[in-house]
Symmetry: C2
């Protein structure tokens, strides 16, 4: 056994851009080799990016992959372990790892455990692998696993029994709150139980609704963390193996964040990557004086810088003066482009055109929705004219119960708070204020009772239970799949629970047309929660 | 072997409503027994309806299923073969068939081939079955298969070798153009090759974007069709088996339709079921004087009756007088509720509010989109006030290239033409006119050049290639997954092909927020074509 250096190439591939990803990886391999690394490990499917979805069905995939691998294999004096799609002679696809050395593929591994639950559809695309891979380099025996494989204990045991001293795990493990801690506990436990080392390399960055936190880790055989890469950023982490001590040498690393700061940082990354990878110059959003848009604005500014963010306050008759003041105040504190656009002429135009149809029928949610939709259309007009992406500002609690207007406040290409419950919105806002000398969100925005301001003196709590109660019920129903009876059994009012569940069930059609947004929970609306719109399931039992 | 009667219970379960579906099936079993049927066969997963999606993950599923089966098992004097979800002692779920007789489950089959491609996610939910089921009734040996199983030839051969004389196939086979013919060819071939009979029972009706055509069939051992149930409607088909002739007795049935009339009928069913199963009193749509809205209106009236359909013409400065006349003419021919709503005051309101932002910047698509979004908001206001569902009128060609306005003409809860290319829209319109004494769509709507009328003298063909060229390219790129080079190789202009493909790729974000609509192709946008929004794949090779 000799001393060696291993490089963990935590980076953010652009899904589908095989050529650019290969070039990016080649540069990293050069850099790692220059720094004396003997091995470099890239994340799962790094060549095409995760998740590639139906791009995997395109017939030109095989040729592109071959070219990309060939390009990457040019790297000299370093062994490369890279995640890619292997298409065999029969056209079968595998979620694979290749060992590249001096221009040749010298080894290959096929992922054995293909997740097909939650956000994952891997059995739609890939065949199951049936063989382990062990290889020796620098007198050290390495085993290879890919993501889900490491969560199945027998794989680690099997590699140990085959002689592995270090397991290299290639991952594209989507973030959810407290997942980084869970992952680290798992790999530490596996390392200690099996008396081996684990090098865990994760993708980083946002890809549509999925976000990858990074936090790649090297674990020694006692279960201790020897090194950890950055959260939310690309990081080429190079770690020394000491042959005498038989372990990876300890490096300094930042301690893990608490959940709220961690979520905040991930949301910032999500906005940054969605906007930049889609090629937008910046974003525009409606600032209402409420907490959701205030938090969204803070995230956007942290992600893109004030000069790439435009906000507009769109008051109507029912908008409180306090709301306009608070919106303007926040815009000024953050130094963004800010404007005010009265919607009265627009709403009046709609009412005039609709009069022959409506006559003197009483006002109802129709008129409230007209205000929201006038605002949505204004934001889209600003987006169309100046090219900025509209950020939708709705939160998970609202989307769950449909307390939002389709084509109104739901307008937007990306919804940063889509998977964030209202109670967490408050915590995130307080957190953001706590880390600045001058709080960026005016205190009153956080303390005043939430209101949609779509009719006189409206408060959210006129229509909905208090947010702590609502969010508890929603969490049990959505994240934990509990039935109505079980939730009532935990001490919640039966009528309230029944009403909330009915609202969740009935509003699937709205959510289906909503913007995507970063997943931070263990059950996000979207690809993770696939419910029929026409649905006769009745809550109760 | 004795004579017997077999009932094919082709019906439309409501997804999720296990109790109602069980009661519905119990009534059908009673009815079949009264008519002397010895066996009744229901479709795949009939107890919960297909596809149940993530309702399958709810913990109360098992109890509901047990209650439903128990309810259905009350039927006396008839053997029931029913599709349901079997949850075993370990909590594993199977896509299963149960044999029920006099209150008892006397047999069970687990589907062996679980589709996890195209629109199917069955491996997300179900374990694979490993055993065949053969049972004897009335001195006749029956084998059981479920949907995808019949497409794998070895299953039929295996059942034959186990002695099966008739195979009962329980299906929820989603429609696509020419699928009914393919299915019948397949089962005829399998019956003839294996010298056995096939009873193919299919679900019927619309469920979100999936539509089921029915057309359940009984095939004799020579491959001939003995009986066939109705297209697009529930049908309790009872067929005699003659023990002496050793075959099912021939019944009269309607010949299969040609593709265009078949698609038309399926679209009518899709609208009928979506609207009725969602509990809407009726529909409202924008009638522009163009062919898409004209066809959508005809479908809506055929699905729901004129008294449940409201249309509104929303002219602006650029709307031709001819368009208003044609819209009014069609409304009058069909006898629907019709109104005209000028959008000028609304668009002016927007322009006034936006002037401080836009100044005197030149007009561009921003202003065009304002018109479309004013119309979308008006339709939603009518929907909110009167409770009718908005039908979106866009077609597949538009949605593919993004020639449509998000939150504008894309507004709606259901999009009947979502999976219908423009060239097929024309054929469907001509077909609908051909079957009425007075054509319901004014001739001029079909013959004039398509225009969005969002700027003076605009024609679709100013921005897009001719629709026959566009649709050919789209079909090759979307349905056939051909690369840009391959399409150019078939004789299409390289610049045109490149432009079209770029548009398809770039407009995924619009489609993601669009309404669902009935799938009639072999590659519909939506759950069948899962593309990333942020996507670095470049066409070319």
């Amino acid at each position: 056994m000799r001393n060696f250096k291993i490089a963990l190439a935590q980076f953010s591939p652009l899904v589908g851009d095989i050529q650019q990803n290969a070039e990016n990886m080649l540069q990293q391999a050069h850099q790692a080799a220059e720094k004396g690394a003997n091995i470099i490990v890239f994340p799962e499917l790094a060549l095409i990016g995760y998740p590639p979805e139906d791009l995997l069905l395109r017939p030109s995939l095989t040729g592109r992959i071959e070219q990309g691998l060939k390009h990457l294999a040019q790297a000299k004096n370093i062994l490369i372990v890279v995640g890619y799609v292997h298409v065999d002679e029969e056209g079968k696809r595998y979620n694979a790892a290749a060992l590249l050395h001096n221009g040749l593929i010298i080894g290959r591994y096929h992922k054995q455990n293909l997740p097909n639950y939650s956000v994952f559809d891997e059995q739609r695309y890939f065949e199951i692998g049936h063989q382990y891979l062990i290889f020796e380099h620098q007198g050290h025996k390495f085993g290879v696993l890919i993501c889900e494989d490491i969560w199945v204990e027998k794989n680690t045991k099997q590699l140990k029994s085959l002689g592995a001293e270090t397991i290299l795990v290639l991952n594209a493990s989507p973030y959810e709150a407290s997942k980084p801690q869970q992952r680290q506990q798992l790999v530490s436990k596996l390392a200690a139980e099996n008396d081996l080392r684990i090098v865990y390399v994760n993708q980083v960055g946002g890809q549509d609704d999925l976000i990858f936190d990074g936090a790649s880790t090297v674990i020694n055989q006692n279960g201790d963390v020897a090194a950890r890469a950055k959260l939310t950023e690309s990081d080429l982490l190079i770690v020394d193996f000491d042959a005498e001590k038989k372990q990876y040498l300890q490096q300094k690393f930042e301690p893990a964040l608490d959940t709220i700061p961690e979520i905040y940082q991930l949301l910032v990354m999500a906005v940054r990557d969605y906007v930049n990878n889609s090629g937008f110059p910046g974003v525009v959003l409606g600032l209402s004086g409420g907490i959701d848009s205030a938090l969204t604005l803070a995230i956007a500014v942290d992600a893109l810088g004030a000069d790439r963010v435009q906000a507009v306050m769109m008051p109507y008759t029912y908008t409180a003066q306090m709301s306009v003041e608070d919106a303007a105040e926040q815009a000024q504190r953050l130094g963004i482009t800010f404007g005010i656009a009265e919607i009265n002429p627009i709403v009046n135009g709609f009412m005039q055109t609709l009069y022959p149809f409506f006559g003197d029928s009483p006002m109802d949610t129709t008129e409230e929705n007209l205000q929201a939709r006038s605002r949505g259309t204004l934001l889209m007009a600003l987006s169309n004219k100046f090219g900025n992406l509209v950020l939708a500002t709705g939160n998970k609690s609202e989307l769950a119960v449909g307390y939002c207007t389709l084509y109104g406040d739901m307008v937007g290409g990306f919804a940063p708070l889509k998977d964030v419950y209202k109670t967490i919105v408050f915590e995130l806002a307080k957190h953001r204020n706590s880390i600045a000398k001058t709080p960026v969100i005016p205190e009153r925005v956080i303390t005043r009772p939430p209101s949609a301001e779509l009719r006189p003196d409206q408060k959210d709590q006129d229509s909905l239970p208090a947010y702590d109660v609502l969010d508890s019920i929603l969490y049990m129903y959505i994240e934990e799949d509990l039935s109505q009876d079980s939730i009532v059994g935990k001490g919640f009012d039966a009528d309230v629970v029944s009403k909330v569940i009915k609202l969740v069930d009935r509003n699937e059609y709205k959510r289906r047309q909503g913007a995507i947004g970063p997943r931070i929970s263990s059950r996000a609306f979207g690809r993770e929660r696939r419910y029929p719109i026409v649905n006769g399931w009745k809550a109760g039992v």
